[in-house]
């Protein structure tokens, strides 16, 4: 198609722009600008104005194209939100399986269109409630799952053949997935019908979220097992959610979030290819997960750059042939780290602005944070407001009525290009190190993130970055907020339930299943069928994870800062 702007016209605008710059400088020497510099929350400088000069080589065909067509900058699906709105998928999990089931029903009744599960720390780390390491942690930051029995209760009465379920779980992802599949099987739902996502992204754990179990290499092996299994057995399932959210929450910049996420994606594709899998067989089931932070345009540019970059990587680096292999489909969560404990009602506004960025960025599914999330697990009322935020955006504001409405903005296109360029620099650097696994060994992404986090904190102290209510517009008296309280008897009740399950099961069968699981781990057998068998026999989460730990070893935090 060729470039959009005629060279001589751009030159004309360029001269006029210089003249305007002069007038601007005169204006600003009379009345100084309101601040010394205008950085994004990530620290990138933003110009006072963007014109065609900033995108003078803009080529609509190669840089944007149409929704559902390479390079997918404007959206991965042809009809995007004209077809249907993004999935409203609220992350939820608290206390016992019953309590979380109740919260799931509440959210579905209030109009959410997909399920998303938050697990407690013991479950996230592959421990049962009764383990001494789990003391005091049962049900505190998510739902406690010890056996298939809990999983059955968790999804009781929910149409998992029609609703998709996301599970935020990493080291024990294959185990929880096995429990979910066993639960569905018991309900007579065929695997081919099941849709959902397991986060299952260990590389970002070592980099940012830090739920650990086994070291990086065996963790990758387990992930490839799930990719392989999903490709054949659960074709509608997103076997991995390659995540930038946590990288950003740990303090990275937007460019780092994008670059490290895609670099993780590259590592996973390479690992699957090494196993001998065909790229077009598994690539369509890779999904992504990004943060929606508070700097509005920086986020929109990030999502658009992400789609274009991944399409290029899959097409040109990995030679994928199928269109769907090139799609970067992503879930978004609004930024937890942008919320403030002082004046928490302000967080409703932050979440709304962040959600808007995600929508204008073309997300496939969205979680909006509750305003009280900085204080405790969200109450029902707070979660409802967060869900309504999405519904108001989708139904009232008109922002979803046209696809990629910011396409063509001189600012947004320029920022998208800049973001892509800066992210590729990081990816090339990581490639030079030998890939993400090697980069992690060298502590590279971890230290980049720690440095960015420290820089931001220092800027807050110096008031170069403002957080309303925290370092500006502070109040002495806070308005009271009702927060969620965990039932203190939960831990012992959960232990009692799990013991009852253990006493009521076929111990011999469980022992056999765990042995076969161990053999599969030590050999080359895919672990998933063995995990499903063990889960179906009511082996506990920790019993299965202990097998993995015994074969693959245990990873410990290096403790650098």
């Amino acid at each position: 198609m060729g470039t959009l702007f005629k060279e001589d016209e751009v030159a004309g605008i360029g001269s006029a722009s210089k003249a305007w710059q002069k007038r601007l400088q005169e204006r600003l020497s009379a009345t100084p600008p309101r601040r010394e510099s205008f950085p994004t929350v990530s620290g990138r400088q933003i110009n006072e104005l963007y014109t065609p000069c900033d995108v003078k080589d803009f080529d609509y065909g190669t840089q944007l194209g149409f929704p559902g067509q390479y390079p997918y900058t404007r959206g991965v699906q042809t009809s995007m939100y004209r077809g249907r709105l993004w999935t409203m998928r609220m992350f939820a999990g608290l206390g016992s399986a019953e309590e979380t089931n109740e919260r799931f029903h509440y959210l579905v009744n209030h109009g959410q269109t997909g399920l998303s599960t938050a697990f407690d720390m013991p479950t996230l780390m592959g421990y049962d409630t009764e383990d001494p390491r789990s003391r005091g942690e049962c049900g505190r930051c998510g739902v406690a799952i010890d056996t298939l029995k809990d999983m059955e209760i968790l999804f009781d009465g929910l149409p998992v053949d029609r609703l998709t379920t996301s599970m935020t779980i990493n080291p024990p992802a294959p185990v929880l997935w096995a429990m979910y599949l066993a639960m569905a099987e018991k309900r007579g739902i065929p695997r081919k019908k099941l849709g959902g996502t397991i986060q299952n992204d260990m590389l970002k754990e070592f980099i940012a979220q830090k739920t650990f179990m086994c070291p990086p290499e065996p963790s990758l092996r387990l992930i490839v097992d799930t990719i392989e299994f999903g490709t054949h057995e659960v074709p509608r399932w997103n076997v991995i959610s390659i995540s930038g959210y946590h990288i950003r929450e740990a303090g990275s910049t937007a460019v780092q979030e994008l670059a490290f996420t895609l670099a993780d994606g590259i590592a996973y594709v390479e690992a699957a290819l090494q196993r001998g899998l065909d790229v077009d067989a598994f690539a369509p089931r890779l999904s992504f997960f990004f943060n929606a932070h508070i700097d509005f345009f920086e986020e929109i540019a990030k999502y658009r750059a992400a789609r274009r970059m991944w399409a290029d990587i899959m097409k040109n680096r990995f030679k994928a042939k199928s269109g769907r292999s090139l799609w970067l489909r992503f879930h978004t969560q609004t930024a937890g780290c942008s919320l403030t404990a002082p004046q928490p009602f302000n967080n409703v506004v932050r979440t709304a602005v962040e959600a808007l960025a995600a929508v204008l960025g073309g997300t496939q599914s969205l979680h909006t944070n509750s305003f009280d999330e900085v204080l405790a697990i969200p109450t029902e009322e707070a979660a409802a407001i967060a869900l309504r935020t999405q519904q108001i955006l989708g139904e009232e504001t008109g922002v979803a009525n046209t696809i990629d409405p910011l396409g063509g903005s001189y600012f947004v296109e320029s920022l998208t290009n800049e973001t892509e360029e800066a992210a590729y620099e990081y990816i090339n650097k990581i490639d030079d190190m030998g890939g993400m696994l090697k980069a992690i060994e060298r502590n590279y992404p971890q230290m980049e993130i720690a440095d960015a986090a420290y820089r931001f904190q220092r800027e807050l102290v110096a008031k170069e970055k403002i957080m309303v209510g925290v370092n500006k517009y502070i109040v002495k008296e806070e308005l009271p907020v009702d927060i969620y309280h965990v039932d203190e008897t939960l831990e012992e009740r959960q232990i009692a339930r799990t013991n009852a399950v253990k006493n009521g099961r076929d111990q011999k069968k469980v022992k056999q299943c765990l042995e076969r699981l161990g053999e599969a781990c030590a050999g080359k057998d895919n672990v998933m069928p063995h995990l499903i068998e063990a889960a179906s026999a009511y082996a506990t989460l920790q019993e299965m994870c202990d097998v993995l730990r015994s074969v693959f070893g245990v990873y410990r935090d290096p403790g650098t800062f």
Binding site: S134, C337, I377, V470, N471, F561
Partner: protein, 124 residues
């Protein structure tokens, strides 16, 4: 600077560790996933003047209490303890009643924390 329990949110803990190091303090960072026993043992071994506990996964009441109990049991309760993270107002009161000297919840300024330590904590 310690991370008790299974909580993996270490952004704040690592920033605090760095800030104190930059302010001239000697800092020992335990890394993640430390039991109260490990923390108290390390604190005694390293002969620290102050323990900072970071919690963002809502298990602070049990874990911080355990640390306080163990310090007392081992005759090391002259080591001051402060905490931070996601700790609601009601719990701050309870933790102080256990002997935790101060809690710096999310949003606290680095300078405020360092000033407090400079004023309140003496070498043992």
């Amino acid at each position: 600077m310690a991370k008790p329990g299974l909580d993996g949110h270490d952004r704040g803990a690592r920033i605090i560790a760095r800030a104190f190091r930059d302010a001239g303090f000697e800092v020992v960072y335990t890394g993640l996933h430390q039991s109260p026993e490990q923390i108290v043992s390390a604190a005694i071994q390293e002969d620290v003047d102050l323990i900072g506990l970071s919690s963002l996964a809502a298990a602070h009441l049990y874990l911080f209490q355990k640390v306080m109990d163990l310090l007392k049991a081992q005759g090391a309760d002259d080591i001051m303890v402060i905490g931070g993270g996601i700790i609601p107002e009601k719990d701050i009161v309870r933790l102080k009643a256990l002997g935790v000297q101060e809690i710096f919840p999310s949003g606290s300024s680095l300078d405020t924390i360092i000033d407090w330590v400079n004023k309140q904590v003496k070498p043992r």
